[in-house]
């Protein structure tokens, strides 16, 4: 791919100015790079908050008996841990990466809707302050699980309306972010940047943005119905009033399953950028990667009820959702095979982003295998709502989605800061994380198969040993993430100067601009030949 890159300070008349001075820069900014940084820092802070909640959970589960927290508080921790990690960590991190990189990858000067961009970020801190403040309210925070199944969720105390409103806010933020990304990709691609030339990170985000626009309103509808059931006398989900509690689950998972892919597709894109760079070889099967992503997105709308195999669906429903769910293995398999083929006969080096990307491929695939097992309805009855499920979705989300994000951060950190990060610290971070993440989550497969239900604060003594191991892993993994924070701060402060190209095998427009890039890039736009 060839491009005419330009430096920032060209002679056009209106955007000479750099960032506004002082703190107001961050409040009023409409610059995609500033907003990208805000999203990423917000995500990192929430990562530590959600992580602390996980450590409360794991500490209580360190041994049988109740030692530290009341079961009601334990349930608040599991609920908020999930909400924080999903809506506060993974999604904002993806939007942050998109903000920083999409314009630079498609040769656009900025996001298409910069003021909305500012707003969609600044909703988040307020939304989460509201959500987390429920912990201090009478009756504590939400404790019905992040899935908010009624009638249980309707027993929430004063926290309930605050929770619903904060979910609305997060939804508004996500939808605006998604609209912005679609508008940017549709309208601001540089001349010659056709759809089938777009980098895969752009493609996966393009598809993800449509998923977000399709399903976030569904979630908003579902939680609004909960709100009216609780306060305005409706009976959507109350059997006594002619409603149906299972209907909530159908609506929720119609949002929830595409949401699962919202949490992983951009990571697919990140890994598809990183593996070719460090294999020094073009991505294998580019077009089949695009089609596979689109297929996964389509299938995500017709598999939702596999989260609810035990609700007592008709046999035909169970069989339909089993078949469609198993089908997802096909496009997902295509992606994994393509990544491996990209490495095959490449010329690989193993800098930290590559290590995280390889970790992603292996451990995401392990999560995929347990997903295939869970897809099979007759045996899912044994796995459903046990720690086997907890192991499964943590494998796809932690060494899956989160590893993808971390890989992306390492990959572009020299571009953002202009400095190389400490490779030895990065590798230490990778190895500690990878050892401990497996110590943490692998034993959960065993206790799950042995019969330990999920979301319990205390357990029968035969599950004690593996739970102790998992808790050790949790503390190890949690503390290892402090290395990431240290590394990022060190890298911002200084270090070996990065070149524009940064990585020997890097391809793409973002590597044609300076490191760090000027405040305004690509006006006028480059031309792709």
């Amino acid at each position: 791919m060839n491009a005419h890159a330009t430096d920032a300070h060209h002679d056009s008349d209106h955007d000479h100015h750099g960032p506004a001075p002082g703190l107001m820069r961050w409040v009023t900014t409409t610059n995609h790079k500033d907003i990208g940084s805000l999203y990423l820092w917000f995500s990192l802070i929430m990562f530590f908050i959600g992580g602390l909640m996980a450590l409360v959970i794991r500490s209580e589960l360190f041994q049988p008996g109740l030692q530290l927290v009341d079961p009601h508080f334990f349930n608040q921790m599991t609920t908020l841990h999930a909400l924080v990690m999903i809506f506060g960590v993974v999604m904002p991190a993806f939007v942050g990466l998109a903000n920083w990189m999409l314009p630079m990858m498609i040769g656009a000067p900025d996001m298409a809707l910069p003021r909305m961009n500012n707003w969609s970020f600044w909703i988040l801190p307020f939304g989460f302050t509201m959500m987390l403040s429920t912990l201090l309210m009478d009756g504590g925070g939400p404790a019905a699980g992040w899935t908010l199944y009624p009638p249980l969720s309707l027993q929430t105390g004063d926290a309930f309306p605050y929770l619903i409103f904060s979910i609305h806010l997060l939804g508004v933020s996500s939808i605006m972010g998604a609209i912005n990304i679609v508008a940017t990709i549709m309208n601001l691609r540089a001349p010659g940047m056709t759809f089938m030339k777009m980098p895969l990170f752009v493609w996966t985000w393009f598809i993800t943005a449509y998923l977000l626009i399709a399903v976030m309103p569904v979630l908003a509808g579902a939680v609004t119905m909960l709100l009216t059931d609780k306060f305005f006398g409706t009976s959507f989900f109350d059997a006594a009033g002619g409603g149906d509690p299972v209907m909530f689950q159908h609506i929720f998972w119609f949002f929830g399953h595409p949401e699962v892919y919202i949490l992983i597709l951009p990571s697919f894109g990140l890994v598809s950028e990183i593996i070719p760079t460090f294999s020094r070889k073009r991505l294998f099967g580019y077009s089949s990667m695009v089609y596979a992503t689109a297929s996964i997105a389509f299938l995500s709308f017709i598999v939702w009820a596999h989260h609810m195999f035990t609700v007592g669906m008709p046999l035909a429903g169970e069989i339909f959702f089993m078949f469609t769910t198993m089908l997802i293995a096909v496009p997902t398999g295509v992606k994994v095979f393509n990544w491996v083929s990209t490495m095959w006969r490449g010329s690989m080096t193993f800098e930290t982003p590559m290590l995280f990307a390889l970790g992603f491929v292996v451990m995401f695939t392990i999560g995929g295998f347990s997903g295939l097992m869970l897809a099979m309805t007759p045996i899912d009855f044994q796995y459903h709502d046990t720690y086997f499920v907890v192991a499964h979705f943590h494998y796809v989300l932690v060494p899956g989605a989160i590893y993808g994000i971390i890989a992306g951060v390492y990959y572009w950190l020299p571009k953002w800061t202009g400095n190389m990060y400490s490779e030895s610290l990065g590798k230490t971070h990778f190895w500690l994380s990878t050892i401990f993440v497996n110590v943490l989550f692998f034993p959960m497969h065993f206790v799950g198969l042995a019969g330990m239900p999920r979301r319990i604060p205390d357990y029968a003594v035969q599950f004690a040993d593996f739970n102790q191991i998992a808790t050790i892993g949790a503390f190890g993994f949690g503390f290892s993430q402090i290395l990431l924070l240290v590394l990022v701060i060190k890298c911002i402060k200084g270090g070996e100067k990065a070149t524009d190209q940064v990585w020997e095998g890097a391809q793409g427009l973002e590597w044609t601009v300076a490191s760090p890039p000027p405040y305004h890039t690509f006006s006028p736009q480059p031309v792709i030949k």
Binding site: L66, Y149, K281, E318, F337, V340, G346, F381, V461, Q462
Partner: protein, 380 residues
Amino acid sequence: MNKIQRVTSILFGGALWTATGTARAEWELNLTQGVTEISREVFDMHMTVMWICFWIGVLVFGAMAISIVKHRKSKGATPATFHESTFAEILWTIIPFVILISMAFPAAKMLVKMEDTSDAEITIKVTGHQWKWEYEYLDSGIKFISSLHADSREAATLGSGIDPSTVDNYLLEVDNPVVLPTGKKVRFLLTSSDVIHAWWIPAFAIKKDAIPGFINEMWTIVDEEGTYRGQCAELCGRQHGFMPIVVEAKSEAEYGEWVTAQLAAAEVAASSADREWAMDELMERGEKVYGTYCAACHQADGNGIAGVFPALNGSPMVLEDIEGHIDIILNGKPGTAMQAFAAQLNDADLAAVVTYERNAWENETGDIIQPAAVKSLRIQ
């Protein structure tokens, strides 16, 4: 003290987490084979799918490992230029598809079998309550509540200081187990009075949600006599982890004896409402009922949990309004966790627990409520 405990108590400071001492030998790794035809078939399918995944993993990770070892720059590897192959893409779309089909058809067949609840010889209605199970044998009319055993309940209190490994079947023991005959097809009808619960016995490989307003069905035929344990598998509130399920499978003759004994006991209980009860008798029974039904929310000390579960200790309703007090227990309070106990507790239990609440802790009203009084209110 085993190795892990030693290492971990060093890591976390033995003072905070005193290791439990007794050996917990079970390093259970896999699914149970169970004691029903279905559970064994489920186990076999689980193993088949796991091995398929294992071998695919060997191929994929093997190719990756070869690549990582051989095709690295430090070994002088130069990158090849190939980057697509329609043949390969078609191949690795079709092969997984065929493997999936070969897995999906037996699974669908098995599902048909699992969902066939026809021709059951015994039907048991299972109702989930926060946080206990109610069983009703529709054929014989036996009806009882099954909740966590008192020993586990005591040990599972925050800061109880009781070592769980000294409690028999910690968290997996109940006061009244379900009894089934072996070799007979038993159908379960599942529902709930409040929130969604799920009834699960791993050894039978059956699990289904108990949903308010719905009746779900499932069935089992247990082959071997024995005691089988499970737990509620759907988050149902504060005590979700503390509503186990215990099933005793007995020979047909023993099952018959059990049915006779249960029916006789029910008759005795029914007549208890007609006589006059003494204060001591009511208080003693009331304390038991309170512990089983009320303490999970209102707490053993009657002080509740601020903002979630109201205190009974010093509550105006408990101190003054007798009829209101009985009414809220009989009929519950809609929109809150306070459920209607009319169907779960008989007149004697209700009278006892009301008497207990009015005289326990600092509530020294001296009120004695007779079962007959509850009976008359119930009729209204």
